[in-house]
Homo-oligomer: 326 residues x 6
């Protein structure tokens, strides 16, 4: 199997096709333009600088293009980067299919869709069940392909659905261990909680915040979808069960400072918030461990209050931080 | 004209009809029950304790009843209260009409309704104009009669509409002084910003938070009304002007910690937030000054970060803190 | 089966044996002494005032005594209390055994001990396994009978072990779902994390903080036990695996403000902190729901940032908030 | 009329006289010196780098000089800058008059002075009136020409007086709408509140903080001027009206964290603080909108808690964000 | 020597003259008035309730009167109080001299005045020396007799001067140990830093905050005295040495949140702040230890962030916490 | 005597031996490598960039080497740096002894050791005395040679012991001035409080945090040494005096946010915390003054909340900020 970006060591010569994830044109201290690239394939992403960029270079090396990259992997201020020796667009024959280079959720779209359906099946409250099906049906495609965030955690294609499924699996364990939990409410809230990201974010590639994302935010965006679905399905949005569902969604960031307009005031709202943080943390740390050598600390992680985490030495009976499985 | 509650001095005998605003049954140190009353008429409200309450007393002296009160005004830990000597229900002949005893906005409902219409007339963006008219029409009665808060500021019948109008009048001054302001957006946002309180609060008397008020909150409740109105009126809720209007409403508490899911990111959102705080502060301080003697400090005001304010001495060329006029 | 404290309704006559959980002597407004009691049996605890207490009353009605209580259940400022009509010490024949009246963990001590051993069996790192066995053996009795807190969560006999087991069960689910987790480290940390409470707290009844608890705190107290055990067992306390274990324990409060001297810097430290909070929250909420009527809000919960939680109406397909089972 | 800095588009050739606002000498990565310029004319200011600067260049291109600038406008990391092709000092014939190039308040000094006098005329308390006239007379020239801040808001010549006038105009609207307001106190406080900036800042050009500004701060500096004026005018500084005036000035930053030694404890102190923030915010946002394209977000604004603001699309019925008029 | 208040044990009969420190009239649950007294002599102060107070009682038992008190010392909710059996005004013959009953600084006024002069003698900068002498001379009497605070620390007659002297003595040690310290500046700042309390507080007995104290605060009040003294003495208030002195005074609370308008930006300003806190803490803790039994915790101390402190057991080689000596 | 680093002025040619304190390899904008040096001798440290570094340069110019440096002192963005003209390793004949170039405590190791012993002699509690001697004996060498911090304060060889001694000298003054202080406890706590830094830090040169330092922290590390010493010496670690000593050490950072697991709850714990901050502040400020010109502000000091401090003009009767003497 062909070598991928993270199969190379530092100081090793690099030669492989990669996808341009981002390409920012800047001006160097010598007054000439250069391109600050971020390249990726399914093994991860890495930065590189392309000096003395001509206008033609700038025109052709756009985000979303697949390029053939020759150079060397180096350490720059502790972080790996590629020193570029050669760069050109890949031809169709060479496999110019951007989708082949994107990081993806560890489960296939079909599997995730099926797994979701099994959880929906267990939502026994009819209103909640109908609302979930309606909203999900309206945004199915985006829900299964969008990342869960621009960066931070689950920032890969399918990340939104995968993050949702991971929470649902944790939720099942919790509901089995604690009999007071209303499983239907917890599942319905978990499925919908981040679905507003399909409006907040621009899509699976070169992900940015939309104007709606900035001005309204994904928490309120999905709440609006819920009340509109209720209006369409002729469900009384002010019935208690509908208030409970909306509350669980609105409160899932836990603190007002984190953008929830209300703090959790239901057992299930508190649990959803806690599981959301737990799964996001595990995903961030697992990803960070992959980029740190055993026996060293990771970079500071913005999503974890700028903490650095220690990846224990190999000698330990320690698992490899592969992507989390089910 | 008959004397009202706040026309009496300390140590003066009191004899007048009042409305029972609240009546809480408690147990005294001697094991007997008493009723902790809050009486009101249009001049304000005052507390009183009714000792050795019988079950019959408890049954008849309910919130919303008009009673004939005999007693003496006294100071208790610096605050005025009534020492009750006699208490009985008022008869119909004696004028048992609760509405006559409620604190009210200084403007009549009709005047406020008319003044509002003049502002709506100046909203030149068609979508904003239609949304405002639709949402207002659906909640007209409550909007004109509800208070703006359970306590804190504008906690009187019609307070919600009066607070809204006060902000609109400030907004007109600001829009005239600063030409960059989009007057239509500022007016539309001002009219709708607190309208969710018609769902958040239980009504003009014995005001409490509803379950929807606690679990969803008035900011999101009115945002939901806006998107549902758009759905009904076939206005694209994701058109930029609709995003702007929703943003101005959602951001009006200014800080995430105060319950806005997004902070102001538009000039008009920032202005609405600032004027909302300005009018609320002036109302709270004017009310507090009314209950403090010249040359002394008010009680600590919860809504003003627990600060006490100084009411200057009479000798000063100082206006009487009457209720604010237009 | 005999009726217990929480089998009575408001306004119902009460007649049953209870345990005195606390008894505080105060002076009433009439200058006479009274006793503020807190009575309990296994169904919960409730307060009551005993007026005009004689010195003999004060001498005999001490915490830890079983008494025969006659009176009526009433509501006082929204909370239930007992109005005392008669009170006397129970005789031996009447069943004066305090242990029969204490709230207890829903699992028996033996079962919990056995379940713990199964988890210890899965700790494959020899140093961690030996340290856990040594420290646990030295504090076995207290560990199985102490509460997990003076009030807040798991404040009942056996609460410390039950809380620990609940976390271990959640930890098993997480370790199965996320392959990067070092299960041995997570289990060892979970078992030891709160064990310092056997020194911090005074015991299962009339629980108070000890001087060591106040001046050192349970987090450092158990860390000290770990290094002393290492010294005894001739394990190098500065070997990496020992640093990891101590870190997981020291960091389990998550934030410096909450008393951890370091923040989590290991995947397992972060997970233990999150699961600790999750289990504590569920326990606090389940307990609070038991004391709230369906369709109402609980009291403000100190351990949950003073939030009130809503217990949904019976009409909902909602489980009874019984004590959580396994 | 000749083109000015902000009449040019990106990628357009630039050729015009500008004022050097600041010129910082730095060392490039190639070891040679360059000058980081900030050029300005009355349309705004823009940065530029001058590579390989000789000692002669450094000596002549000083802040305060007018230069003839040839180059091209470009985007650098999203912000406009000038790429310099040629640069030389302007001759007297070419119009080397720095004052012609400084951003100025939108009203002339004379008009502002006259407008201020009208407000002073309405201060009916004799002590306040005399203090205001005395302090203003002692610092008239600086008050009319200084900026209101080094950067942030009203950072242009005459900005201090213009900001003061804007607040006074808002204050008039508020005093007319709310009858409880003491107009004399509000006006006197508004005129003096920022006058200490004439000592805190170094002057209208190349504005820096003075040592007195850093060690004492403008709030206390003007309070000291007030007590010294009282001493000179033989007014009792401890009479109540003098305490009120000093309080309104000292409290105008609203929060201790923002440098006020006391929080507002008077209605007028609270209003002055609110209007100060309102006018400063509107000025910051209007300026930021001028530098952002319609349909995009501004830069992060330091003075607005690092928020970015959205400038709506042209299609909207939106006013051009010209400098605010009266 | 006659027994004083704190020479009595709990449950011991009490019979001695005391000073009424405060007397608040309240209404009991039975509707009758009572007086909540705070009695004091030089050994400390203690509270007591006087039931069924007649109007004559209220008229005669005013703060500042010496009374003969008969009763019993009791514990009420963990705090000592007196149960009053008899109470009457002391006659002149019985020694009705309030000053004999006030807590005082452990050094005599004359000694403190002399000790201060020795420090002033060491201020070698002429401007600082003249300013200190002038301001001190204008407020000498108050400076030597006022407390340093209403409650919290050094809340006794002469406390302000004693606190100042304690800081000066610490300052001397520090200046001797660290040669970089400007001793003149540190001494001048220390002497003046709290002198504004002679205006902020009402006097040595029944100490309250004045209106000037509330609206301006002691930090700015003394700064104003300094600039007025400079104006009188024809010292340039803007010379650098005068800026330094004013800065040291203004910054002595260390943080803006604590009321300093600027944070320390001079070595001596930082040291003065640190020594001010150190001496205040030691005074608060020593006083609290005096009221706690060995082997117990003190009450929560408001001035120490509500912490409780542990007074070690007698067995320890621990000094008695007498009032601190020089 | 030969000139040292801080004897040179800006723009002066430099020629002297220095120690390489740190050497970081980076990549310049032209794609070539350069070394960012930090050179030091006993007068201080200064940065420099070495352009176009060859692999041989990188290999030989390692931290810890003495080099002969030729170049010029320049200002770069307000901070001094060296422009390198020539650089080569020093030979043994030229005095290649790193220890000669390290900043050191102003007292010799022997003197400090002796001075420490005198303080230990005054610890009259036998347990505390034995524990201090045992722990100190086990870490004597490191204690006398380590710095007190990686950067911030006392970041020089012997800084840990010197900081400790400075606190002890302040402690002596305080104990003499305030008779309630337990001198033995204060001294024992002062000696041990930072001793965990001998494990937290890597050593006197190129100081870094160890894994134990990051994961456990110096506060808990020394507490563990104390309990292990007690175990070895057969002292009951739970006797009250041992709790007191551990508390004083654990609480010395004062606030939970600063890493203390408990806040001070003993007089001596509070004093140790205050003196620790006082000595650290004075050291940081004295060092910063040495690098600032009279009449200017220092850089922002990270350890002082990013404040800048003003170094007064020479004209003042101001001492030179030499290193603090005893």
């Amino acid at each position: 199997m062909a070598k991928r970006l993270f199969d190379y060591q530092n100081e090793e010569d690099v030669n492989l096709p990669v996808l341009i994830k981002s390409a920012e044109v800047r001006i160097a201290k010598n007054g000439k333009k250069f391109i600050a690239f971020n390249f990726q394939d399914q093994s991860g992403h890495i930065s590189a600088k392309y000096w003395n960029a001509s206008e033609a270079d700038i025109a052709q090396f756009q985000p979303g293009e697949v390029v053939l990259l020759g150079g060397k992997r180096e350490l720059y201020q502790g972080n790996p980067q590629i020193k570029i020796n050669s760069l050109r667009l890949a031809t169709q024959e060479e496999g110019n299919n951007p989708a082949d280079f994107m990081e993806k959720a560890p489960e296939a779209t079909d599997e995730m869709s099926e797994a979701l359906n099994e959880f929906i099946f267990e939502i026994t409250n009819a209103n909640w069940n109908r609302i979930v099906r309606k909203v999900l049906a309206d945004h199915q495609q985006a829900f299964l392909t969008y990342p869960a965030a621009k960066s931070n955690h689950h920032a890969f294609a399918g990340g939104l659905a995968f993050h949702t499924l991971s929470i649902l699996r944790l939720a099942r364990s919790v509901a089995e261990q604690y009999s007071a939990v209303n499983k239907s409410l917890l599942y319905a809230g978990a499925i919908l909680h981040d679905l507003g990201k399909t409006i907040e974010l621009s899509g699976p590639m070169s992900t940015e915040y939309t104007v709606a994302g900035n001005l309204i935010g994904h928490i309120v965006l999905v709440d609006e979808l819920v009340v509109e679905a209720a209006q369409t399905l002729k469900i009384d949005e002010n019935a208690e069960d509908m208030l409970l569902l909306r509350h669980v969604i609105l409160a899932h960031h836990g603190l007002l400072e984190y953008g929830s307009p209300v703090r959790p005031q239901l057992l299930e709202a508190q649990i959803l918030h806690d599981l959301d943080e737990l799964d996001a943390s595990i995903n961030m740390l697992t990803t960070a461990y992959q980029h740190a050598e055993p026996g060293t600390f990771t970079e500071r992680l913005f999503g974890m209050d700028n903490r650095r985490f220690y990846r224990p030495s190999k000698g330990q009976t320690y698992p490899d931080p592969g992507l989390q499985s089910k």
